[in-house]
C-alpha cells in the first residue's frame, strides 16, 4: 500500500510542464484523488510525476461573452461552494456536491477527473451532457476537443500522453434552463453504478440526456424533446438500449431509472 519510487517535478507554467512531460514515463498529476490511490495500489508506476495542480493558468474561473472559461485545476469543492456563476454554475454545483467526500472534493480537480475518464466518475458524463470544448496544450501548440467526444472509452480519451488539459469552455445556460442529475451508488460518496442526467435550455435549443457509468464512454442523446415531457420508463429503457446496456437486465434497468429520476428532478425545477 505504498507507492513505488517515482520522480517528481512541479513546473512553473504550462510550457515548462510540457517540456518535462515529453520525457519517457512521465505522467501528469493534478488533485491526485484517483492517481494517489492508484499509485499506492501500484496499479500505475510512472517514472516521473508532473504536478500541475497549482499552475495559475489552470486555476482560472472567468466569463467570456457567451461562455464560461474554467481552468482544469479548479476543484470540486470550489464548484460546490458556488464559485462558478449563473445557471451553468448551478448545474456544475449540483454535480460537484455529490462527488465522493468533502476531503476528496477539496483536492480533486474537474480537468483531472475528465482526463482520467473513469466511467463511474461524474465529470466525464456531466461535461458530455453540458457540451463545450476542452483547450488542451501539447508540444505542437494548443487544440480544441469537443467535450462530447473527449472521452472515447473506458479510461480512454482523445488526449495524448504529452498533452495537458488547460481550460474548459462551457456554454452559459439561460436562467430558465432545467436540469436533473441522478446517480445510484452502493454507499454515499462511492463511485456510481449508474448515472442519468438531463439538460434542457429552450432559449438555446438545448435538449440533451446522458447515460453514464457504463462500460465505456458516456452515451449522449440530443434533440429528443419527448424525453422531457414526462419521466417515462419505457423511453428511458429505450435510451439505455441505445447506450448499449441491453445485455445486462439489471444494469439496463438501473440506468433507465437513473435517467427517469433525473427527468423527474428537472421537471420539479
Amino acid at each position: 500500500m505504498k507507492a513505488c519510487a517515482f520522480e517528481y517535478e512541479r513546473p512553473r507554467d504550462v510550457s515548462d510542464a510540457l517540456k518535462v512531460l515529453s520525457s519517457e514515463g512521465a505522467k501528469v498529476a493534478a488533485g491526485m484523488q484517483s492517481l494517489g490511490p492508484m499509485l499506492n495500489l501500484r496499479v500505475v508506476q510512472p517514472r516521473l510525476l508532473v504536478d500541475i495542480r497549482r499552475l495559475e493558468e489552470l486555476r482560472t474561473i472567468r466569463e467570456e461573452g457567451d461562455t464560461l472559461a474554467l481552468g482544469a485545476c479548479v476543484t470540486h469543492a470550489e464548484i460546490e461552494d458556488g464559485r462558478v456563476p449563473g445557471a451553468t454554475g448551478a448545474f456544475l454545483q449540483k454535480v460537484a456536491s455529490r462527488i465522493a467526500y468533502r476531503a476528496v472534493r477539496n483536492r480533486g480537480t474537474i480537468g483531472g477527473s475528465l482526463a482520467h475518464a473513469d466511467p463511474a466518475a461524474d465529470w466525464p458524463s456531466a461535461l458530455a451532457l453540458l457540451g463545450g470544448i476542452a483547450i488542451v496544450a501539447g508540444p505542437s501548440g494548443r487544440r480544441e476537443i469537443p467535450l462530447e467526444r473527449f472521452v472515447t472509452g473506458l479510461f480512454s480519451t482523445d488526449l495524448a500522453s504529452d498533452e495537458i488539459v488547460v481550460l474548459l469552455k462551457l456554454q452559459k445556460l439561460g436562467a430558465k434552463a432545467r436540469f436533473g442529475w441522478w446517480k445510484f451508488c452502493r454507499k454515499a460518496g462511492e463511485f456510481a453504478q449508474a448515472i442519468g442526467g438531463v439538460l434542457e435550455d429552450r432559449e438555446r435549443g438545448v435538449a440533451r440526456a446522458v447515460i453514464g457509468a457504463t462500460a465505456g464512454a458516456p452515451f449522449v442523446e440530443a434533440g429528443n424533446r419527448r424525453l422531457f415531457e414526462k419521466p417515462d420508463l419505457d423511453q428511458c429503457l429505450a435510451a439505455a438500449d441505445k447506450a448499449g446496456l441491453g445485455a445486462d437486465l439489471y444494469s439496463r434497468r438501473l440506468h433507465a431509472v437513473a435517467l427517469q429520476r433525473a427527468i423527474a428532478e428537472a421537471q420539479r425545477r
Binding site: R10, M32, G36, N40, L41, R53, R102, R107, G189
Partner: protein
C-alpha cells in the same frame, strides 16, 4: 530526494523527502506526529484526514513533496481550538469512540461540518461523514456528538 518546506501545526519545517512518501508517513515518521492514523492507504476510510491550508484532505494519498508551501494541521494542532475542545467533550459524553482509531479523522471532518455547515441536521451530518469509516460505534454516538455541538452553538443539529 526532494527538498520540501511547509508549515506543520504552525511550525516551519524543511526536509529532504522521497517523492513517494505520503504526507501521513512523513508526519508520523519524521515529525513524530502519530495522531494521524493510516487505515486503508487508498483514500477510502478517512482515518488519515487532516487539514491542508484550512481544508480537510486525505494524507495517505497526498504526497509530502506536493505540500511545498502548504500549511498542514494535524489532530495535535487542534489542542487549543475551541470548536475541537467542544467536539472532544461531546465525543466523550456521547460515547462516540471505542477503539479510537478513526477518531482523529472523525474529529477533523466533524469540525469541518460544524464550521462549514452550521445548519446541518442529522441527515446532513451522516452524508458528510460518509467518507469516514468507523467499525466500532455504528455512528450513532458520533452523529449525536456533532448534533450536540451544533445545538450548543445555537445553529443546527436538528434530528430531522
Amino acid at each position: 530526494m526532494k527538498r520540501v518546506a511547509l508549515t506543520v501545526n504552525g511550525r516551519r519545517v524543511e526536509a529532504e523527502v522521497e517523492p513517494r512518501t505520503s504526507l501521513a508517513d512523513y508526519l508520523r515518521e519524521r515529525e513524530g506526529l502519530t495522531g494521524t492514523n493510516l487505515g486503508c492507504e487508498h483514500g477510502v476510510c478517512g482515518a488519515c484526514t487532516l487539514e491542508i491550508d484550512g481544508a480537510p484532505a486525505r494524507s495517505c494519498i497526498t504526497f509530502a513533496v506536493a505540500c511545498e508551501g502548504a500549511s498542514v494541521r494535524t489532530i495535535e494542532g487542534f489542542a487549543d481550538d475551541p470548536v475541537m475542545e467542544a467536539l472532544r467533550q461531546a465525543f466523550t459524553a456521547e460515547h462516540a469512540l471505542q477503539c479510537g482509531y478513526c477518531t482523529p479523522g472523525m474529529l477533523v471532518t466533524a469540525r469541518d461540518i460544524v464550521t462549514r455547515l452550521p445548519d446541518a441536521d442529522a441527515a446532513r451530518i451522516r452524508l458528510e461523514l460518509s467518507g469516514n469509516l468507523c467499525r466500532c460505534t455504528g455512528y450513532v454516538g458520533i452523529v449525536n456528538a456533532i448534533q450536540v455541538v451544533l445545538k450548543d452553538r445555537g445553529t443546527g443539529g436538528a434530528s430531522r
